[in-house]
């Protein structure tokens, strides 16, 4: 690939298609953040592939002036794996919703993360099925009343970041659709990571699940409800920085008043810890939008990257045996000739 500097703008990443989400949908802000950040990343539109499954979020590739495949419900991480393993030179982003990635596609998501395929997986979590008009999703809270659960859902939900960490993801982060700056910073970090990256975005579906994250994201509560994780810094939040996260005698993080433990009593966030235990525990600090919830990068570690390893074996095989000679292979083993 060429290395000459490229001066691209947001426009270079916009397709000519009319964006068709419901007015007020959180997806607009997410699309904008992506289109804003890409010119910074020194990536050419033709080197990018957006792969999606099915759902409202999965329409996003149509709005990008890049290569794109809008595939089958749930299968985007698998299709994208085929793209990335064939062409390690490409930047492959996978876009989907919570139903797409954690219900019908939970299998593919976890295996793409486990393999550490060089994919940037962005899951727009709105805790509802939007495209099919309002059924509860695998991230909906227990008791959720929807068209398919008129008496309230009795399903226990997935915690997406816990799932990703349990699936050995090497990069895990969370952001939300109300903060373009934070989204862009999260995408920058995601892009810089080699290997499978998983980003959850709290996304508002104003038609079928309006305000699902209101308890966290309303302007007046954010400071006390969002815990911004910063690598190497003590985890501290609150309007006046009066709250923080400390670890108890069992190694479990919990929210504390700084006044009670002192600054030195707070946990220093280390996203590069090889062991995912603490990141996992942080992902479970909150059980819903009624509790202070961490955002930012939970984990960012280096692991062998699948497509690079596949390529390495190919190169090694060619060095070992030279380029393939099919005639030689066909004639290997016993042959005989008839005159």
């Amino acid at each position: 690939m060429t290395t000459e500097p490229i001066a691209l703008t947001r426009k270079d990443f916009e397709s000519d298609q009319e964006v068709r989400w419901c007015p007020g949908c959180g997806d607009y802000g997410i699309l904008a953040a992506i289109q804003f950040v890409l010119p910074e990343l020194a990536v050419k539109p033709e080197e990018m592939v957006f792969v999606s499954g099915i759902g409202c979020a999965a329409r996003l590739p149509y709005y990008m002036n890049t290569y794109g495949v809008h595939s089958i419900h749930g299968r985007a991480p698998a299709l994208a794996t085929g793209v990335a393993m064939t062409r390690p030179d490409l930047h492959v982003w996978v876009i989907g919703g919570d139903g797409d990635m954690l219900s019908i596609g939970g299998d593919h998501l976890s295996h793409a993360l486990r393999r550490n395929v060089n994919l940037k997986i962005v899951m727009l979590n709105n805790q509802i099925y939007g495209l099919t008009k309002g059924q509860y999703s695998p991230t909906s809270e227990v008791g959720k009343v929807t068209k398919s659960t008129p008496f309230g859902s009795v399903d226990f939900p997935f915690n997406p970041l816990s799932v990703a960490l349990g699936a050995e993801a090497s990069f895990v982060a969370r952001t939300h659709d109300m903060d373009r700056k934070h989204m862009m910073e999260t995408f920058r970090r995601m892009h810089a990571h080699r290997g499978a990256a998983f980003v959850e975005i709290f996304q508002n579906c104003n038609v079928f699940n309006d305000g699902a994250f209101g308890g966290l994201l309303k302007k007046d509560v954010r400071a006390d409800m969002l815990i911004e994780l910063r690598h190497g810094e003590r985890i501290r939040f609150g309007t006046d920085g009066q709250l923080g996260v400390a670890v108890n005698e069992f190694g479990e993080p919990h929210v504390v008043a700084v006044a009670d433990v002192g600054d030195e009593g707070l946990l220093v966030h280390d996203e590069r810890r090889a062991d995912p235990t603490l990141a996992f525990a942080l992902s479970r600090l909150s059980t819903g939008p009624h509790m202070p919830t961490p955002i930012g990068v939970f984990r960012d570690v280096d692991r062998p990257v699948y497509d690079a390893e596949v390529q390495r074996q190919l190169v090694a095989a060619s060095e070992r045996s030279g380029p393939g000679d099919l005639a030689k292979i066909l004639a290997s083993g016993p042959t005989w000739s008839v005159d």
Partner: protein
């Protein structure tokens, strides 16, 4: 050490023989069957094989359920099937005898391991009497050979424990058969030496057992004299022995080379297709990337992703996997990207008979997707033909930007035959050019088609200016009138109607790009036997028998099942009677009846094994009456 092939003056020459090795699945029958086959291939016989093994990894030892067998037909002339029943049956235990005896014609040779007929062995096989003692085997040339004890005796000085020594008894049986049919043994000894070179004692024991088997034949005076089956006069050229799955793998590699596209094969382990994955995984220096996916669905999706980026994406499986991949096949039809799905058919429905053959996925290949979702279908007819069929499937997929189904089956996958090695240089160039430039002024329209093939342009990521988005939602495609082609989402009723017809037309036009039906006609023939897939051998054998009676009959075999060759209707209407033998309940016969309104007669068998030549002969005779 060497063992010389005896030059026994009493050797009797046979034109062909069918041998079946049968034992417990732990007895190594597939291994010695394979070895006997390789020896015979290298010797120059024509041959065909029929391995038959249980689906359970380890059924209880000594039971009927655990019986594994390997049948090999060797001859001095061109043959087409593994033979109806064996002329010689080797039964390593009572269960193997019990399971296979019904296939053995009276007067045939039966060799049993006399050491394994103790009361508990009989119990395990569910026998109340010892068949070696109750005269129930009087109709056969029965040889009772204490294989286990001779093997133990022959290996006792090697320091091998008796229990381990017993496991070499399959090599004793092989040695005995090699003497009986005067096989050249040097290649086998070399094979044993290299295969077991890291297991010194096993090597020594197997070698000793093999030699003991040969010596037993020569000295025991039990057998009157050895036989020989001379090399067959096949078409001149270089030959090797090949099984279908291997030929499929090689055909895919050849296609990747002739298309100048990297091969990406994504698959999930499944019997009887896994060997294709195993084989392709070895050939990384060809640029072949293999991926063992998390499931069948993912494998298909991965192959599509590979094709989107400019590779030859292939996925392989058997029936249950095809069910799961059907949604992805629909996507590939909609995306119009090259993709080959290899279906190594096995007995169904559901898990069915995983290790047995069947050809009951034709309708699945034809119609097994929602919506109007046509795709080309290519079927292999013999183990070595899997190479040609795989190559052809790739050619069509690449040229027409369409998913293609390649049908083989369990019999082809594991069956062996000599293969006249193809001249790779003579294979056609099947490469196509990627799109590099806008195709409509300054714009790139991904669904603007080639007016002849109706294939859409293949623009791969990395190509500046040709960025485009494709997906499973109906897209605005160009019509035959030249309108449209943007590839944008379109819910227009007229556009959908046009796209449905275009996708069908694209596949239909392939009929002009494939050879016409090759009819093996005889003057006066009133019956045409029409087949597809692995029934080729059985049909040929049946037809030969009819002709040997001096009666005329015609036959034709389809490699392309969708679209059919353009002249198939004319061919069928030329014959008053058409017989369609299939290992299903009449799938091809239904297709040709529907397509051509001919009164094709269906002849079916779904027992997990190919038709016998005798069955085929009888049915054709019945048709002629």
């Amino acid at each position: 050490m060497t063992v010389e092939t005896p030059s026994d003056p009493r050797v009797e020459t046979l034109d062909r023989v069918v041998i079946r090795f049968a034992g417990d699945s732990g007895d190594g029958m597939q291994l010695v069957g394979d070895r006997f086959t390789e020896l015979s291939a290298a010797f120059g016989n024509d041959l065909a094989t029929l391995p038959n093994y249980p689906a359970e990894i380890r059924a209880p030892a000594g039971t009927i359920a655990g019986v594994s067998s390997f049948q090999v037909h060797i001859s001095d002339h061109d043959i087409v099937t593994p033979g109806d029943g064996p002329n010689v049956l080797i039964a390593m235990n009572p269960a193997a005898l019990q399971a296979n005896l019904s296939d053995l014609a009276p007067g045939s040779t039966l060799i049993v391991n006399g050491d394994s007929f103790a009361q508990r062995d009989l119990d395990k096989a569910g026998l109340t009497q010892n068949p070696l003692e109750d005269h129930s085997l009087d109709a056969y040339n029965l040889y009772v050979v204490p294989m286990t004890s001779i093997t133990v005796e022959a290996t006792k000085d090697l320091g091998v424990r008796p229990r381990d020594a017993e496991r070499s008894k399959n090599f004793f049986a092989l040695g005995l058969l090699c003497w009986m049919y005067t096989r050249p043994v040097a290649p086998l000894i070399e094979w044993i030496e290299s295969r077991f070179k890291d297991k010194e004692q096993v090597l020594a024991a197997n070698l000793a057992a093999f030699k003991a088997g040969r010596n037993f034949g020569e000295t025991a005076e039990l057998f009157d004299h050895p036989y020989e089956v001379r090399p067959a006069t096949l078409r001149p050229g270089n030959y090797r022995n090949i099984i279908g799955n291997l030929a499929t793998a090689y055909g895919l590699i050849a296609a990747s080379q002739k298309a100048n596209l990297p091969l990406v094969y994504a698959s999930y382990p499944i019997t009887p297709a896994s060997d294709i994955l195993h084989e392709l995984s070895k050939h990384k220096n060809f640029g072949v990337k293999t991926l063992q996916a998390e499931d069948e669905i993912a494998a298909a999706a991965m192959a599509i992703g590979a094709s989107f980026t400019g590779a030859l994406g292939i996925t392989g499986t058997s029936g249950p996997g095809v069910d799961l991949k059907s949604e992805a096949m629909g996507l590939a039809v909609s995306l119009e990207l090259p993709l080959v799905l290899v279906d190594v058919q096995r007995g169904g429905p559901s898990t069915g008979l995983p290790t047995k053959t069947e050809q009951a996925d034709l309708m699945l290949a034809m119609y097994g997707r929602h919506g109007e979702c046509p795709l080309p279908i290519v079927a292999a007819k013999t183990p070595s033909h899997c190479f040609d069929a795989a190559f052809e499937a790739c050619r069509l997929a690449i040229k027409y930007r369409t998913p293609v189904m390649l049908l083989t089956d369990g019999y082809l996958a594991n069956g062996a035959e000599p293969w006249l090695l193809p001249d790779l240089d003579a294979l056609p160039d099947i490469s196509v050019a990627f799109a590099t430039e806008p195709n409509a002024g300054t714009e790139f329209l991904p669904y603007l088609r080639d007016p002849e093939t109706l294939a859409r342009p293949w623009a791969i990521p990395g190509t500046a200016g040709l960025q485009h988005r494709i997906g499973g939602i109906e897209k605005e495609g160009i019509g035959l009138d030249g309108e449209g082609g943007s590839g944008n989402i379109s819910y227009s009723p007229e556009n959908h109607d046009r796209m449905v017809r275009l996708r069908a037309e694209k596949v239909a036009r392939i009929a002009h790009d494939i050879p016409g039906v090759e009819v093996d006609h005889e003057d006066g023939a009133q019956v045409l036997v029409l087949g597809w897939g692995s029934t080729w051998g059985s049909i040929q054998a049946g037809v030969r028998r009819i002709r040997a009676r001096g009666l005329p009959v015609a036959s034709a075999h389809l490699v392309h099942l969708n679209p059919f060759p353009a002249d198939l209707g004319d061919v069928l209407r030329r014959y008053p009677k058409v017989l369609v033998p299939e290992m299903n309940l009449g799938q091809l016969s239904r297709l040709v009846r529907a397509e051509y309104l001919v009164d094709a007669v269906s002849f079916t068998k779904v027992q997990g094994v190919p038709f016998r030549a005798a069955e085929m002969e009888a049915k054709i005779l019945e048709m002629m009456a």
